[in-house]
Symmetry: C2
Subunit: 448 residues, 2 copies
């Protein structure tokens, strides 16, 4: 059935999404190369503008230039709009695809109980878009108010600068895009509980994803009604943040370039802040390039897993990792079905999780190999930059601005692929009809 309609049904949505993102990136790049976007004289390099636009639309925050020195107020506004568009776009898009997947699966497996078995219509799109905008703007407004007021009260900033810094960083934090326009970055705020706390809270909330936020808003008083998706994301966030905090604090405790010079409450705050950023905010209050190689490796793993689905977080997602983890638990306990928080995982979801994970591992390893060959940098640092880009985190050991154009171009592709790849792949896998095939006899190879 390779009719035009069938083809459009198969490739249509993905193509639309790719074209829409490419258009936004092109528009953003065009604005950013204009001289009116650049701080100081002249205009920006096209690769720098393109890199910034893709980094913003993919809500990453990785940069080839120093944001406040390169971009003036107009340029920063372009970044702000691109980030907001990218964040809302993914929240809406992924939620719609998730709904379509759920309905298609419900319809297919004839398990229709609570969800009505019907297609995704205009009403759904409107509901998701307005819901995402309302949640985003509401939380961002609270964050902007807190940050702006605090910057005004405690910093040497004019009221206008303080307000702009508050708005900009609140939007960046909620959308998990690690752009910073403070003149000396966030490092001076390593011991500031308000700046660190508000930004960490915004990043954590944003990384949960729209379905979780929507459910928490509607059912926050009745946790027993929460879906498996929400429970996996919340528990995953808690566990990964705790593991990351403990590890960073312990390993970096006495290290001269990072937590060493700080007093112990600041060490704890900085460790917590940095652990949160792997899910996938991308801000830093310590020098990432000075962290121990072991810390970078642990952060690699946390970034690769990422945050909640259908949100601004990247990585393979806490749910994908959770499915693999609970398959392991079920195997260890000799259970024939995989149970997660009182629900059984449907057949096939573990295969989708395997596929997403294997493809992501292949992309990350392949990119790391390529970056190492291109740059001759240590493989540990190239792995960190590759995972940071692919998982749209935006943390950097500081080498990205000095990388050759080929390496920067690869990171740029990784950000774009990391933002759209998993969601498009997972939805493509989930919604297809599976043709009945001739059944071969079973045979088991030896495992392990």
């Amino acid at each position: 059935m390779a009719s035009r309609t069938a083809l459009r049904r198969r490739f249509g949505p993905a193509t639309t999404v790719l074209v829409a993102y490419a258009a936004v990136v092109t528009g953003g790049t065009a604005l950013l190369v204009l001289p009116i976007a650049k701080a100081g004289p002249g205009r920006s390099d096209v690769l720098d503008a393109l890199f910034t636009a893709i980094s913003a639309v993919s809500v990453t925050g990785l940069t080839t230039v120093d944001t406040p020195r390169q971009w003036n107020g107009f340029g920063q506004t372009v970044i702000l709009v691109l980030v907001q568009a990218g964040g809302l776009g993914i929240m809406t898009l992924a939620s719609l695809i998730g709904l379509a997947v759920a309905r298609r699966l419900t319809l297919g497996s004839k398990l229709s109980t609570s969800v009505e078995a019907q297609g995704v219509g205009i009403a759904d799109i409107r509901r998701f878009v307005t819901g995402a905008i309302r949640i985003s703007l509401g939380i961002e407004a609270v964050g902007a108010l807190l940050l702006g007021t605090w910057f005004w009260l405690t910093g040497d900033f004019s009221p206008g600068d303080a307000a702009w810094f508050g708005v900009f960083h609140s939007v960046m934090a909620f959308n998990n895009a690690g752009f910073v326009i403070l003149p000396r970055g966030l490092v001076p705020f390593v011991g500031d509980p308000v700046v660190s706390g508000v930004i960490a809270a915004l990043v954590l909330i944003g990384s949960l994803g729209f379905p979780v936020l929507d459910e928490l808003r509607r059912h926050w008083r009745t946790p027993r009604r929460w879906t498996v998706n929400t429970r996996l994301v919340l528990w995953g966030s808690v566990v990964l943040t705790a593991v990351g905090t403990v590890f960073i604090v312990v390993v970096e405790w006495g290290r001269a370039g990072t937590l060493g010079p700080l007093d112990w409450p600041t060490k704890l705050l900085a460790g917590f802040f940095q652990a949160v950023q792997t899910r996938s905010g991308g801000f830093n209050t310590v020098d990432v390039g000075a962290l121990d190689g072991a810390t970078l490796l642990v952060m690699d793993v946390l970034m690769f897993i990422g945050g909640g689905p259908a949100g601004t977080a990247g990585g393979i997602k806490l749910t994908t990792f959770g499915v693999l983890f609970f398959v392991l638990v079920a195997e260890m306990r000799a259970r024939s079905s995989v149970n997660v928080f009182g629900k059984r995982l449907p057949a096939g979801v573990d295969r989708t999780a395997i596929t997403i994970s294997l493809v992501s591992v292949a992309v990350v390893v392949g990119s790391t190999v390529a970056l190492t060959v291109i740059t001759d940098q240590p493989v540990g640092r190239m792995a960190f930059e590759a995972i940071s880009a692919f998982a749209t985190v935006g943390l950097s050991t500081g080498v990205t601005p000095d990388l050759p154009p080929a390496a920067q171009a690869l990171l740029l592709v990784l950000m774009f692929a990391g933002r759209l790849g998993p969601i498009l792949l997972a939805s493509a896998l989930a919604v297809r009809s599976r043709p009945l095939t001739y059944e071969f006899p079973t045979e088991r190879p030896i495992i392990g």
Copy 2:
């Protein structure tokens, strides 16, 4: 049913295997610390002797000392016996467990067709042991004859030395244990097609595993009768060796410390030889420590995947990786069953593969983090040593002799765990009965 019989049935075989291996390691260590085992005056350090014994029994070849300088003829004979015992032990043990698993599964799923549904008896054990001994000694004899004659004809060795070098390295190569007792190692033979070719061939053949070797011996003329296990291992070996060879030759082509100074046929031979060693021989004709970081990372992946099951190769095994890969292929092609070479994988085998892989990733990452923290070495090198130990490969960037005792102890545990862990875990997962549990309602989280 926690009766003593049930407990023995559950934990019995694993405990027996662990005790047997521990006994062999203890005996080997006791012999190696004797002054009569050491070249030159004095006696060896206990940690060095223990490390050598575990490295030999686990057929790894990782060393904390220079083998020919540390051990005299008696010490080298102890290593030879430990390697042969370790290699035969795993071949027999894993094959028996594999047979038990196959019969148990056949019995349980009532699919008994060709295999008789009965337990594993004395006759099976005798058949496997004699089969493994016959295959091992036969191939080792051919290898020893070729290598010994060539050493005698072309080297400056006495006939006795040439014969001993031939026997020792043939046994090492077939058992995938990378110990070398040639005075200047294998690097001088980088361009020698006979030494490189025979050792590579022995390593490749040994890495296939006993079930594949046994099947090839009986059915080598009728490939259509080969099992999925054999096809996965053969294809996996071909693909991984090809990928490794191409990558090493291309990346190292002009590198001064490795392939740079060699003429092009020698570059190809050396690249092929080094690629073969990741599956998991552990010999080297180029300086592993001088390889590009990207090459080490690619070798990490190849070593982690490893060779065939129920043999002397380590890693998660080509079959485990093959199952994950074909799950991905089935997902991409929207198939509801996972078909591999004309057979369908039974339900549950993908979950076992997930479990083995996740546990192995966790062990490798955890060990790399620990080694990096302990030693302050670059994370890339520590990952290589950790994977080399866990996958019982034995390749080294050269840092192992200089590592602190805590790091050496960790590598020692990794070799032991890597040798016995996957097989015991996989067999434990496969043979247990799965209790019928209350079935929860299904619910699907969002993946990707």
